[in-house]
Amino acid sequence: MRPFTYERAADALSAVKAVAENPGAKFLAGGTNLLDLMKLDIERPTHLVDVGRLPFAGVEEVNGGLRVGGAMVNSKLAAHPRVRELYPVLVRALVSGASGQLRNKATTAGNLLQRTRCAYFYDTTKPCNKRQPGSGCSALEGVHGSHDAIFGASKACIASHPSDMAVALTVLGASVETLTPSGASRTLAVQDLHRLPGDTPQVETDLAPGELITAVLLPPPPEGGQVYRKVRGRASYAHGIASVAVAGGRVALGAVAHKPWRAAHIEDALAAGASAVEAAEAELSKADRSDRNALKIALVGRLAAAAIEESKTRRTA
């Protein structure tokens, strides 16, 4: 690991200023993604501002929904009685991610901002536009990519976003609350937080340098059953090849794009009375087909249809 200096932020605004004013600085929360990438020399911050102990670690009731602190750990969020009662899709997404140990450290904000698990992003001997802009994308010619994006990818990058939690937050219509370097607070939908890769896959979100995620706002749960289903190489402790979150008539897909993917075509088809299979087909017929992703497209279609069917039998919050 390269050397860096470390400070523990005294309060949110001084954390924001410390990162905004220093181009080499990054926030550090649980560290489970950032420290891993620093050990691999993929992330190279020169200064870390620890925001893990800022007082944003609780759950509050607001307007029939909940406000979740950005520094709250994933395991405590999943165990919170109101979250279990109102948002089973979120609990299921959280507890299907990583392991018990990792969830005790991973935070709401850090989970949203975790970086891709693309194998070539991790392999520093290979070109990767996300890691080293302009160097090329090894995944395009790589061994088959079960983690590839099938929606919204570009010639510069076909990586997908790996968070499970973010898929549930997207289906629930959640937003993030941030503190900007000017000291103002703003909110933006989780759905609009991450960007598609375009020509700049190294720019992953619409956050300004130094902008701190202070909370996630969950609106009241939608009517209807909630489901989270995930497919992966083993039964637990692995990132998804694909996942589906359903909440009433809303559907979001995970590990299929550079961001959690709100499946608008599925939702429109369901609203128009289509069956689960027809609705899934409405979305998947728009996927970017290549000679290596036929299996993934078929898998996502079946998984989405099955999750929609299952949601009809699940309890409403």
Binding site: A79, P81, R84, P88
Partner: protein, 168 residues
Amino acid sequence: MKTTITVNGQARTLDVDSRTTLLDALREHLGLIGSKKGCDHGQCGACTVLVNGARINSCLSLLVMHDGDQVTTIEGLGTAENLHPVQQAFLENDAFQCGYCTPGQICSAVGMLQEAADGWPSQVMEDVAALVDLTEAEIRERMSGNICRCSAYPQIVAAIRSVAGDAA
């Protein structure tokens, strides 16, 4: 950077490079070599310790992040004469072969049993708002963050079940 942690009940102050992980601090600076380094990337669980009672991977945490924290390692759970119930159960059930994953398995199991007692949900529950029943499937899921290269899993599950059964 100066950092004070309480390890197994004893306050310890270290002044080390900010890059030092909690795992390396325990092993290289405090001589507590029970916690193991399997992967150093959060992928195996061999480095699991308890911080303020919660199990974490000590390889993916920096010592400087833990100023003021209470850390319990395998050395602090029990003594040779007075083993922790989970240690005793691992012995009785022959729940290891090479033993490399064992300190992590035991610390993880201690943390996991508390999580289950506190009613924390898991992905194998039919309803995530229901009460926890520590079945074999639940134990396997909740312990999935600990890999055993010798594949002593059936005995590990049996050991943990015996402790969970006693507590119930």
